[in-house]
């Protein structure tokens, strides 16, 4: 169970695969028809790619965790048709004022190893 105590700073917990297919884009536009069309991944899909990686890898989790903060660094927008690999690493963790914070690093690359974007997520862990 991915409780606060379970997380080990510096440890990579795995890699998740995401196909930036026409279906994936269509699913995105089904929720966000107001986003522009194009040949590149809409930058808003960074949340989809990292969320899927999180749910694929960081499980099981206690209920009650909350989003604290997120930071994204874009290096390039992937092209339609590319395969993305996202690794999830525990960057650090801390307790502050009675709350437990875990900072998870996400790194998304294409199959040739080129960096697409990075994320750093701060979660307030319930247990």
């Amino acid at each position: 169970m991915f409780t606060f105590d379970h997380f080990e700073p510096g440890k990579c917990y795995g890699t998740s695969r995401f196909e930036l297919s026409e279906k994936a884009l269509a699913d995105w536009h089904a929720v966000f028809p107001e986003d522009m069309e194009g040949t590149h991944m809409p930058p808003g899909m960074t949340g989809v790619v990292t969320a899927q990686a999180y749910h694929d890898i960081i499980k099981p989790r206690p209920s009650g965790n909350m989003h604290g903060a997120q930071r994204y660094e874009m290096h390039r927008l992937p092209l339609l048709g590319e395969t993305l690999l996202t690794s999830v690493t525990c960057d650090s963790k801390e307790e502050r004022k009675g709350r437990r914070f875990v900072h998870l690093g996400f790194e998304t690359r294409t199959l040739d190893g080129a960096l697409a974007f990075r994320g750093l997520f701060t979660s307030i862990v319930a247990a």
Partner: protein, 129 residues
């Protein structure tokens, strides 16, 4: 010098949108779709995924500044309040005065409650004097 204002993006977080976003992100936490369960939590009802509002900030950045600018952006935000079922959420931002390319960004509900707050740094997109 007054900087760029991001074009706003608005969306209602109705049940269908929340459920579809959950499918998109593979997030099936019952707090987002199970009303009976959500009522028993401290939230007292269904809430939208936090990144749903964040998506609207990205859409605002993209439609104002374009893909080339978004491709090099750094977005840094805090989630400050939950988005409740049927809240209408608007995202936008404003370039910081005398700091080209640095934008204050936000997402807020119709009542003015700020749900996401932070900055976007977009190299090359700054207003030139």
């Amino acid at each position: 010098m007054r900087g760029k204002v991001l074009l706003e993006t608005t969306k209602q977080a109705d049940y269908r949108t929340i459920a579809k976003y959950g499918e998109l992100t593979n997030d099936h936490n019952p707090i987002h779709t199970d009303r009976a369960f959500a009522m028993t939590t401290e939230m007292g009802g269904i809430i939208a995924h936090g990144t749903l509002g964040l998506s609207l900030i990205w859409i605002s950045l993209r439609k104002t500044l374009g893909d080339e600018a978004a491709a090099g952006a750094v977005l840094d935000v805090r989630f400050t309040a939950p988005v409740r079922e049927d809240d209408v959420v608007t995202a936008g931002g404003q370039e910081v005065e005398d700091m080209p390319g640095l934008f204050d960004v936000w997402a807020k509900t119709g009542s003015g409650r700020i749900v996401i707050k932070g900055t976007a740094t977009v190299p090359g997109a700054g207003t030139r004097p």
